[in-house]
């Protein structure tokens, strides 16, 4: 009963602290619950979607000619396989949506009854999926944002032999296998009539190099097999060589990985932010308990003299904080519901999946238990000094001095009176503000880091250094119309070519593992090399760190590359980074590819030019000269919808991190300021008696917190310089970027420093309005 009475009194008296801890906990639980829930909801929705389309554990894409009866038999008869379905498709060379062209692979297939049609706002499904008529097409939702297209728009699909197929978008469907925005392959659904029409048109145009007749094999795992999808794929290849024969294969684990790649990576950034916020809450609590014991020294002594044991006092303080946290946890769970919907909504067009809704109860519960356990340990440690309080010393006012002499003291100056007094307050009670400095450092670090992520996605230079090729002009030229060297001459008549390259991408086997291989005409121009050098000789390849880890190979090792049943040995000349297939890729030069019997004649070349402003004029001239035989794509940053999508998502995350950081700053300033105010009440009275106005004193308070914010921000910036690259490299590894290149611009650092410093200054000024209520009369001892 006595504990309850004391607890109620404490909560009533320290309701500011109580509310602050509750609010901070609410913020953290909101973020973490939302992140857990978004992930689970997408994972569950994807599992359900894959179950609905029932496409098996492995999808193998194979040229129909290669799919011999022997291969069919060997796969169907494997003990690992339950059943195999064969879906006829027409392979194409990409699509054009208005002014946007997508060079990725589109597989046209007949509409099935296993697709779900999104409603107009893409937040639910239509009850039925209308049959397609001739000239109509269903597209996966991932294309809606990527290609900025809508229902009713026209789409032009590039068939082989420079023929085109024209459709009107009937709707967007949930296609879970490869419908996500980041996946380079897309299934598009057309009517039976159109399928036959285009099949009949394309089939006769097939050559050695151009195929349209492809089959997608849906391979269902046997119930007796408990292999993981990746192991199943590997084992099946050992038994049947299916993977080697296929153009590419995709298992459900890869689908899950690629579909949720971007959300996972960005949510990891938010998760790290939330964990850092939790650290700040621990710092706030630690500071708060320490100050409270200092302020309540006499009260605690009196309680001890009345028979309260250390354990009971400790229990009261512990309950006081834990109750605030528990309430914060409950509020956080509710607040996570709208945040989860907001974040899920942002990623819906990236994943092309309609996520489940709801909160991940189990994970949230587990996390809240961790919060409470860590808090209990912290409070237990911090309240240890209660044991040292002697009732006699406490009652006789024997508490320790709150100020200390400091070597950092600077003289008080008349010109900068408020600033020098503020600095003195800070230097003479550093311990009191260390927590706030740490918190500022963490918040600034988070804000700078998210800015750096934003910079990274908007800097072509940084992206190039990370292995991405962002060319100014892409040219596809029909061999019969001329040579790409003629195109070079046209470009050079306008501006210097900084870099040019032709590439071919295909899945081939490296030490038995099917991986995406990019072959370069000029391997010396490969971007993103981390170790070693370019594969300039015909027996060299480059691999990514992910491939090195996955296959346990390293630079200098000899590996076997297999294509069309031809094996060749290669030496790993270096490690590079590539976002192709989330880093599971390798690269070689054309000379190296030719050793495998790969035809490197290509009709494609990309150019990076010196004077970017001439790109459109160059494109016009090439189009004028070659007409329909050439396809020219000029990179337009403003029209790059994929990049715009990334930037939009990062902007939302930036807002989330900035807003929460500023709310945190407010709560922290409020708490520290309130405690400081109690501790310095007498000093405030003295200063008022000297002739300081309330306004001047409030300004002093604000300057003191500005000093804290500036010092903390400097630490945060140093932390960012030291750690941001390492942390982001770990997070972006998911995407294949094992070493991110960050550009520390003045704005990326000064904006967070300014925002935090200004917030601290303004909040401290607002919170210190209570200075007005301090009367000099309080100094009177009656």
């Amino acid at each position: 009963m006595e504990i309850l009475t004391l607890l109620k009194a404490n909560i009533r008296r320290k309701k500011g602290t109580f509310i602050s801890i509750m609010l901070l906990t609410t913020i953290i639980v909101t973020i973490i619950t939302a992140v857990f829930s978004v992930r689970d909801n997408y994972d569950n929705a994807l599992d359900n979607a894959l179950e609905y389309v029932d496409s098996g554990e492995i999808n193998a894409y194979i040229k129909t000619d290669t799919l011999t009866d022997e291969l069919r038999q060997s796969v169907e008869n494997s003990s690992l396989v339950e059943k195999v379905e064969y879906i006829d498709t027409i392979a194409t060379n990409g699509a054009t949506f208005g002014e946007n062209t997508d060079g990725n692979s589109y597989f046209m297939m007949e509409m099935t009854d296993r697709i779900k049609l999104f409603n107009s706002s893409a937040d639910g499904f239509e009850e039925s999926v209308p049959e397609l008529k001739s000239g109509e097409i269903y597209l996966p939702l991932g294309l809606k944002s990527k290609m900025e297209c809508n229902v009713g728009d026209s789409v032009e699909i590039a068939l082989i032999g420079y023929k085109n197929a024209y459709f009107k978008i009937k709707g967007f469907v949930q296609e879970p296998a490869c419908g996500a925005m980041l996946m380079g392959i897309k299934y598009v659904f057309i009517s039976h009539e159109d399928f036959q029409k285009y099949y009949d048109l394309c089939k006769p145009l097939e050559t050695e190099d151009m195929h349209c007749d492809c089959t997608v094999m849906h391979i269902h795992q046997s119930a007796d097999s408990d292999l993981s999808p990746a192991k199943l794929q590997r084992q099946l290849n050992v038994e049947t060589k299916l993977v080697d024969y296929s153009t590419f294969t995709l298992n459900t684990a890869q689908t899950l990985n690629y579909t949720t790649l971007l959300p996972d990576m960005l949510l990891d950034v938010v998760l790290v932010f939330a964990i850092l916020l939790f650290v700040t809450v621990l710092i706030v609590m630690s500071h708060s308990i320490g100050t409270e014991i200092e302020i309540d020294y006499t009260t605690l002594g009196v309680l001890k003299s009345q028979g309260f044991t250390k354990g009971k006092i400790r229990m009261v303080i512990m309950l006081q904080y834990l109750i605030a946290e528990v309430i914060g946890i409950i509020f956080g769970c509710f607040a996570a519901i709208p945040l989860e919907r907001l974040i899920s909504g942002i990623f819906r067009f990236v994943t092309a999946i309609l996520p489940d809704t709801g909160i991940s109860v189990f994970k949230t519960l587990l996390f809240t238990i961790v919060i409470l356990i860590v808090s209990v340990i912290l409070i237990f440690i911090k309240t240890g000094k209660i044991a040292k309080i002697s009732p006699v010393r406490a009652i006789s006012g024997g508490r320790e001095e709150i100020y200390f002499s400091s070597r950092l003291n600077v003289p008080i100056s008349k010109k900068l009176l408020s600033a020098s007094l503020s600095l003195r307050q800070f230097t003479s009670a550093k311990k009191r503000y260390i927590g706030a400095v740490f918190i500022t450092a963490i918040l600034t670090f988070c804000m700078i880091t998210i800015n750096l992520v934003g910079n990274m996605f908007s800097s072509r230079n940084a992206l190039r250094l990370m292995g991405l090729t962002i060319a100014d002009i892409h040219v596809y030229l029909d061999e019969s119309a001329g040579s790409l060297d003629e195109v070079d001459k046209i470009i050079k008549s306008y501006t210097e070519i900084e870099q040019e390259n032709s590439t071919i991408g295909m899945y081939i086997s490296l030490n038995g593992e099917q991986l995406f291989c990019i072959m370069y005409e000029n391997p010396e121009n490969i971007n993103g090399i981390l170790k070693g050098r370019e594969p300039v000789y015909d027996n060299e390849i480059l691999i990514t760190e992910m491939v090195a880890d996955s296959l346990d190979i390293k630079m200098g090792d000899e590996v076997t590359v297999t294509s069309s049943e031809k094996d060749e040995s290669y030496v790993i000349s270096g490690i590079y980074q590539s976002s192709n297939d989330a880093g599971m890729a390798f690269a070689m030069g054309f000379a190296a590819a030719e050793r495998l019997g790969i035809d490197t004649n290509t009709s494609y070349r990309y150019y990076i030019i010196e004077d970017k402003s001439r790109a459109n004029a160059i494109a016009d001239e090439i189009t004028a000269k070659y007409g329909d035989d050439a396809m020219v794509d000029v990179y337009d940053e403003d029209a790059d919808s994929e990049m715009q999508m990334y930037n939009m998502i990062i902007s939302v995350l930036k807002i989330v991190i900035y807003v929460f950081s500023i709310i945190f700053a407010f709560v922290v300033v409020r708490m520290v300021c309130s405690k400081t105010f109690i501790q310095e009440r007498t000093d405030i009275g003295i200063y008022k008696a000297m002739g300081f106005t309330s306004n001047k004193l409030r300004l002093g308070f604000a300057i003191r917190f500005l000093i804290i914010a500036v010092i903390g921000s400097v630490f945060g910036t140093i932390l960012s310089v030291l750690l941001s690259e390492k942390i982001l490299s770990q997070l972006f590894r998911l995407m294949g970027m094992s070493k991110v290149i960050l550009e520390f611009t003045a704005a990326s650092m000064l904006v967070p420093i300014g925002a935090i410093s200004l917030s601290f200054f303004v909040f401290a000024y607002l919170v210190s309005r209570r200075v007005k209520k301090v009367a000099v009369r309080e100094l009177v001892v009656e």
Binding site: S405, S413, L417, S428, T682, D683, A689, V776, R777, V780
Partner: protein, 253 residues
């Protein structure tokens, strides 16, 4: 004829207490003369400190007027009062109330820095001089917690006079000091007064009251008696003590 430096008319001060009003000062009329060392005495709870703070503008009276330099301190805004505190008034508290993270020198200089009419070097020079006068030059870089109570109070007096105030208010300045330090502090106040400083002091210590040139007696929030005295002379302390004692007895002290 002495010049009035500060006057109060119908001064009242009440506090809310147990749902009712407790009247501490009741229609006090009072005049303070230039150059005087006025002491207010009275029993505990008579309202001495309340009167001092109401007269100095540190606390606002419930009713009445406190006129200084043609302005009423009761209705003066905070900015005006703050200016008075670092230009015309000086304060000495019973508990010294030095800022604990400022050195003794800084405690004295800071209110000087608030005065826009004085340069930084003038303030520093005057602070040094006052410290010498108060015999605390040797501990100028010490923090308040590192010096004795007497030294703290001498520092507080120096701080109170750094801006050469027209009026010095002292609230039981010897209340927290031992006998030796009390004498030192009283000597300093007497010296200041004899050099022209007007002082209004509240005390219940008769030894301190002996330094006054005028003693007022407060009872139940009203001034009920006044004793004018000649300037203090240590050689006449015995006879002065007898006189004051007799007067206080007549006031039923």
């Amino acid at each position: 004829m002495k010049n009035t430096i500060l006057s109060a008319k119908g001064l009242c001060k009440s506090f809310a207490h147990n749902g009712g009003q407790m009247h501490i000062l009741s229609h006090v009329d009072f005049e303070l003369y230039e150059g005087d060392f006025t002491v207010i005495m009275g029993a505990s709870g008579s309202g001495k400190s309340t009167l001092l703070y109401a007269l100095s503008g540190m606390d606002r009276a419930t009713a009445g007027q406190v006129m200084y330099g043609g302005a009423d301190l009761v209705t003066m805004n905070e900015k005006g009062l703050a200016k008075l505190r670092h230009t015309d008034f000086g304060f000495i508290f019973q508990q010294m109330h030095l800022v604990s993270n400022l050195t003794l020198f800084e405690n004295i200089a800071v209110p000087g820095y608030l005065n826009k009419e004085k340069s930084s070097s003038e303030v520093k020079t005057r602070s040094e001089k006052l410290m010498e006068q108060m015999s605390i030059s040797h501990i100028k870089t010490h923090l308040p917690s590192q010096v004795s109570g007497g030294e703290q109070q001498r520092c507080a007096i120096a701080r109170a006079v750094i801006n050469s105030p027209k009026l010095l208010f002292a609230d039981e300045p010897t209340g927290a000091l031992n006998r030796k330090n009390t004498t030192e502090v009283l000597n300093l106040l007497t010296e200041l007064n004899q050099s022209g400083q007007s002082i209004l002091m509240v005390t219940h210590d008769m030894k301190a009251a002996l330094r006054a040139t005028r003693i007022l007696y407060l009872e139940d929030g009203k001034i009920i008696g006044e004793l004018p005295l000649p300037p203090y002379n240590p050689d006449e302390e015995k006879s002065r003590e007898t006189q004051v004692n007799a007067w206080l007895t007549s006031m039923e002290w």
